[in-house]
């Protein structure tokens, strides 16, 4: 019976990969001082915090609404500014719009670097530049959105049907006309969908930006945590949860209708 199955080739690179992974795991456990035992012996402390959080301080809910609204406002403005910057930039790095390989290569390299900067670090930097407050958060979200949306945009632009582009080019249309009448109608819906997607991510991200002093609900989260008021932390986490769920739902339905 055994002979009926085709013999599997012994692929050594799969085994080599597994070995590398195992070594990496052992090395990681070593370098991070991981003691699973420590985690289990102190597990009671962890659950204790959860229990404290579960005793939600409902009276505090009223105070969280104002900063939560500020967080949403920050996300709206940040998403808007970031996407507005991303649109021309995405055209600049699309291979089917700009044919100069050097220009595309250089601007893509810059974009990739922008995309690797963590959002909390952007927040900390902008707090240093413009001071504590929601403006720092808006700037951080703008850069963050710009990096994320530019990539989604140019990938969408590069997959469009080249027919209308060629037709307009043949009819003597200039760059602006090509973008307006050949590119834009094909991707408008994708753009709106990606902007909404970025907005969902930004609402999540902006809830913690305040931790660095960049405005919104994160500021209250940081205060509650530093005062060890876990009952308040519980309220804030719940409010964030509800708002994120609601925004995900509305945005998801809108995106479904668009695509």
């Amino acid at each position: 019976m055994e002979d009926l199955l085709p013999k599997q080739k012994l692929n050594w690179h799969k085994w080599a990969l597994t070995a590398v992974l195992l070594v990496a795991l052992v090395w990681s456990a070593f370098i991070t001082d991981a003691h699973l035992g420590l985690f289990f012996t102190n597990f009671s402390q962890f659950t204790e915090l959860f229990v404290e959080m579960a005793h939600v301080d409902w009276a505090y809910t009223g105070y969280t609404l104002e900063p939560m609204l500020q967080t949403i406002k920050m996300s709206i403005i940040g998403t808007l500014l970031g996407s507005a910057l991303a649109f021309p930039y995405a055209l600049l790095v699309s291979r089917n719009i700009v044919t100069n390989k050097v220009v595309v290569g250089v601007f893509r390299f810059i974009l990739n670097i922008v995309r690797t900067i963590p959002d909390l670090m952007l927040a900390a930097l902008f707090v240093a530049v413009v001071g504590i407050g929601p403006v720092a958060g808006i700037f951080a979200l703008t850069i963050f959105t710009f990096g994320m949306v530019s990539k989604l945009f140019y990938e969408a632009i590069e997959t469009i049907d080249p027919g209308p582009l060629e037709a307009l080019r043949a009819a003597g249309g200039n760059r602006i006309e090509i973008i307006r009448f050949a590119v834009f109608p094909q991707i408008a819906n994708y753009f709106v969908s990606y902007v909404l997607y970025a907005f969902e991510i930004n609402v999540r991200a902006s809830t913690v930006l305040g931790y660095m002093g960049a405005g919104g609900i994160g500021v209250y989260l940081q205060q509650a945590l530093s005062m060890f008021r876990y009952d308040r932390v519980g309220v804030i986490v719940l409010v964030i949860f509800v708002v994120v769920l609601a925004i995900d739902y509305v945005s998801g339905k809108t995106r479904e209708a668009l695509l």
Binding site: W27, S28, I31, I76, I113, T116, P118, M121, A124
Partner: protein
């Protein structure tokens, strides 16, 4: 010659667009109300200048000092946090994925509750999680490992469950028809289909884990974030710059490596 005109779009769609535009503009106006007016302070220009100065003249000496607090050591620690955290979360994600996957012969409430739990985990702020683990195991990279490991479940189990949902049932039925047992179905039909997808998802999540691991140190959970927040607080921009460059190199390198591996898998 008569003027050529494009036909008007159907009235219903036009009204929908107008309504969407009104809602959009209303939201934007609302968003700008109550925002403090943005004004460039004199010291903002100075700070920007010194940041730019730091970016041009990064603190190269910090790359390697040999005391274990330098850039290379903390970056390696960050890498360790991401690897171990992603591994832990991949293991825990498996049962969660089967719980949340929408498959046949399953009561809808089970799937629904599984998906809800995953959303809750995803939404729980990672920083709060890190602080809770710091309380349990003390500050350091192990707290970071646990935070990454726990937080990643939300997304990883979701991706896993989607892979399970999209699995082709034909192969399993074929094994059953040929007289295979349930174990044979798992080993010969399900696992070969799911494994590449699972590994690919895990690698993707690892790319994101590197990014979170590099900032979790800002609250004391180990890795390169700890020297970063100190450098920002003391306004030593050359050091901030070299740490930023280090993070960029680490993220780019791991992205490239994991992307190359994923391409070979799928």
């Amino acid at each position: 010659m008569t003027e050529l005109k494009l036909p008007n779009p159907p009235a219903q769609r036009r009204w929908g667009k107008v309504l969407a535009a009104v809602i959009f503009i209303g939201l934007v106006i609302w968003a700008f109300t109550g925002m403090p007016a943005f004004s460039i302070k004199a010291n903002a220009v100075m700070v920007t200048k010194s940041i730019g100065d730091g970016l041009i003249h990064p603190d190269w000496a910090y790359v390697w000092t040999g005391d274990g607090e330098d850039l290379t050591s903390t970056l390696l620690e960050t890498l360790g946090i991401a690897i171990l955290g992603t591994f832990i979360s991949a293991v825990i994600s498996l049962p969660f994925a089967f719980w949340a996957a929408h498959t046949k012969h399953k009561f809808w409430l089970v799937t629904r509750s599984g998906k809800f739990v995953l959303t809750a985990i995803r939404t729980f702020p990672e920083i709060v999680l890190a602080l809770m683990f710091i309380k349990a195991v003390g500050p350091g990279s192990f707290a970071g490992v646990l935070a990454v490991g726990f937080h990643s479940i939300g997304m990883l189990a979701k991706l896993f469950s989607e892979a399970i949902e999209n699995m082709n049932g034909g192969a399993g039925e074929a094994v059953t028809a040929a007289g295979g047992s349930a174990l044979d179905v798992t080993m010969l039909a399900s696992l070969p289909q799911l494994l590449p997808e699972f590994v690919s998802n895990t690698l993707y999540r690892f790319e994101l884990a590197i990014r979170s691991a590099s900032i979790l140190g800002m609250v004391g959970a180990g890795g390169v974030g700890t020297p970063l927040i100190f450098a920002i607080q003391t306004r030593s921009w050359p050091r901030v710059a070299i740490i930023l460059y280090g993070i960029i190199v680490l993220v780019t390198a791991t992205d490239w490596l994991s992307g190359a591996l994923r391409k070979r898998l799928v």
